[in-house]
Symmetry: C2
Subunit: 476 residues, 2 copies
Amino acid sequence: MADKKLVEAITSMEEDFAQWYTDVVKKAELLDYTSVKGCMVFKPAGYAIWELIQSQMDAEFKKTGVENVYLPMFIPESLLQKEKDHVEGFAPEVAWVTHGGLNPLQERMCVRPTSETLFCDFYKNEIQSYRDLPKVYNQWCSVVRWEKETRPFLRSREFLWQEGHTAHATAEDAEARTIQMLNVYADFCENVLAIPVVKGRKTDKEKFAGAEATYTIESLMHDGKALQSGTSHNFGDGFAKAFGIQYTDKENKLQYVHQTSWGTTTRLIGAIIMVHGDNSGLVLPPKVAPTQVIIIPIQQHKEGVLDKAFALKERLSNFRVKVDDSDKSPGWKFSECEMRGIPVRVEIGPKDIEAGKCVLVRRDTREKIECKLEDLETEVAALLDKIQVEMLERARAHRDAHTYVAKNMEQFEEIFATKSGFVKAMWCGEQACEDTIKEKLAVTSRCMPFEQEDIAPTCVCCGKPAKKMVYWGRAY
Amino acid sequence: MADKKLVEAITSMEEDFAQWYTDVVKKAELLDYTSVKGCMVFKPAGYAIWELIQSQMDAEFKKTGVENVYLPMFIPESLLQKEKDHVEGFAPEVAWVTHGGLNPLQERMCVRPTSETLFCDFYKNEIQSYRDLPKVYNQWCSVVRWEKETRPFLRSREFLWQEGHTAHATAEDAEARTIQMLNVYADFCENVLAIPVVKGRKTDKEKFAGAEATYTIESLMHDGKALQSGTSHNFGDGFAKAFGIQYTDKENKLQYVHQTSWGTTTRLIGAIIMVHGDNSGLVLPPKVAPTQVIIIPIQQHKEGVLDKAFALKERLSNFRVKVDDSDKSPGWKFSECEMRGIPVRVEIGPKDIEAGKCVLVRRDTREKIECKLEDLETEVAALLDKIQVEMLERARAHRDAHTYVAKNMEQFEEIFATKSGFVKAMWCGEQACEDTIKEKLAVTSRCMPFEQEDIAPTCVCCGKPAKKMVYWGRAY
């Protein structure tokens, strides 16, 4: 009864996907609204996922030579205005600080929506000679964008992220770093979050304000909508010229640097929820599960059961493991750890102890596996690995099953009238067609994938010769 | 010549301590000024120290049951005003956001100077029953205080810190947590930063805005000035009453919670510099040294030298180790790694290789130790441990040698006329005497230490019966 109540509190995703999402966020105690409009609280269960993302992604960054720094959260208005496209893109959505203490500021400052301008201002002094290059810096921080509509993890006025900002001697070095970081993101999504991604380049219409080229990883949610999960920008020397960031090369000539930036945010947690979750709640990939294994004693009042549960915990101390010895019923505990997405549940009761075994239950498939107690460590290790791998496989199968091909506008319209997913279609390269498609189908170009296919000779929209195959979709 | 120039760039601390400090911060590339007034850039070498502080302190927090969360950076003005003492303490020094995008806000918000009010607003909804207690949450973030005078690491308009905020069922639980966290800080300073501290309670005059009691750890810098290095506050039920944070106890009666908060900041890096540094630059305790061992090849152009250097690096991979294979001279490299405070330098040249040995040089004492190559790992491990221990011992000896006793006002005045350090003196408990002492001697009460001594029967200032022994000092 009690556990039924807990589960009933989630709307099913088939009934109302948006409500299901909000319910999971709330019931798994990841995030909550605050009295600060558009800003959220990361509760322990939500923040712990971010900490696991952060530590593992940071380790990958550092393998490629990234160094962490921290720059101010404020940007003076004059600094924000130095790069024309950039200020146009961001000025309408920043929060302005106008007073410090009791006094008005001489110049107002915005809270960083992103830190290109601050890094440029910093690099201008840091970089003098080719010996100072490359600079490959990153910071973990929060940024602010004054969004009107907000949604947990996906869009909020303040959000947590990392932003890498690099400076290089040559255009080639900058492009190589842009692609390198996109690959770090893609590998991270697949290997750690068990989320397959499509890698590609954004069209000019969709690229970052001030970038020469924006690359993206796009993932597909359970409802068939796309989520831009990370971006990597090549700025060329545009910012360098706007900010005067020059170095003397080996021939003692003044050159402009070439720059990149790349970022991922807490929306990755939204992706985890919407790619892996089900109608019982969250399903966490083992590598980002704050608790990987939960031990639930059955008939815990009976002599020896709790002791045994804690002894098993001790044996599993290489994993993130907990015992639920609260006075709730086992059924309630089962529902609760399902809601929270804990990958493996270990059930241990008097009969199990007598028989020298326990039961392992997978969160993702609900499969029950009998396990000899002597094999516990190895079985759990193998099971966590297996879950991690199979979650990615299932997500990839879902993504592939919801990726369609449209050779002409009729097919294109029909797909989005009845289905939801990625649609691959050819494009002439003109923004007019992109606009038309957006208007007619309410979809946007997600990316021009690196893996191009020759679906048709002509643009799906205008019929002129096609230049690129594009992924289209409805997006968060 | 080249290395001499690098060293000469630091003012000696005997000549001008403040300038020495600034020089070290700059030359060790820890921090830099920005065009955002009063805000600094943490450069890689500075931020890496903070990361090491953060990861090790966070691990200590988690051992005591602390969970990390993240709350918004903005506080609506009405929320800040709910606790009378608190708003009086902070309102004059906050940054105000008045516009979101192109529109004025209905209510202005400040950027958090500290987050008591946000945590209270959060706890008000989170806490209903005694089962919800205690809440032991912490966040790592940056805060903003609109300081007029700023100084690298010690005082800036934005700074990085952690702030713990807890809620408890009883006054006893809150007091126990307050003291527990003060002890975590004190142990951390001694064991990790090699900085001895005095633990004690602040006088009412010096306590935190809104607190019932503030506890502090105070450390002594090389110039004899004190640095408040961490504080832990017991709020009683004051905030709970202002915000209406109540729970139903086991007898189903409504009770107010009792709260604490506790924080440490990047000023700990300032303490490291001023406790351990010398006229050659930074001296880092091994536990927070981003590079613990630097290998400097001598005559690196000779065959086999660089290979050997990298082979040694491989063998030392349990430590944070680097090889300096740049084209600078060995002398320049020596000066540079001294400036950066790297605890152990390994020198290896052709003759060393032939003799099967290398030279280890301690940064703190400059002692040179011959080391058989076969013993390298164990020797380096032992040496790093030894340096860590001896740095604490030296800092404690310095602190003790600069801690004085004043039994009366004449002694008190004489000490501060000629010396700099902590002065222990008796106090009647009246703020009037505290004010008089501050006015006459330009010193403040640092704390009423837990370890009280019976120095004299009467107050050093007014001659009335003494209640407490107090540590006094000039402070950063």
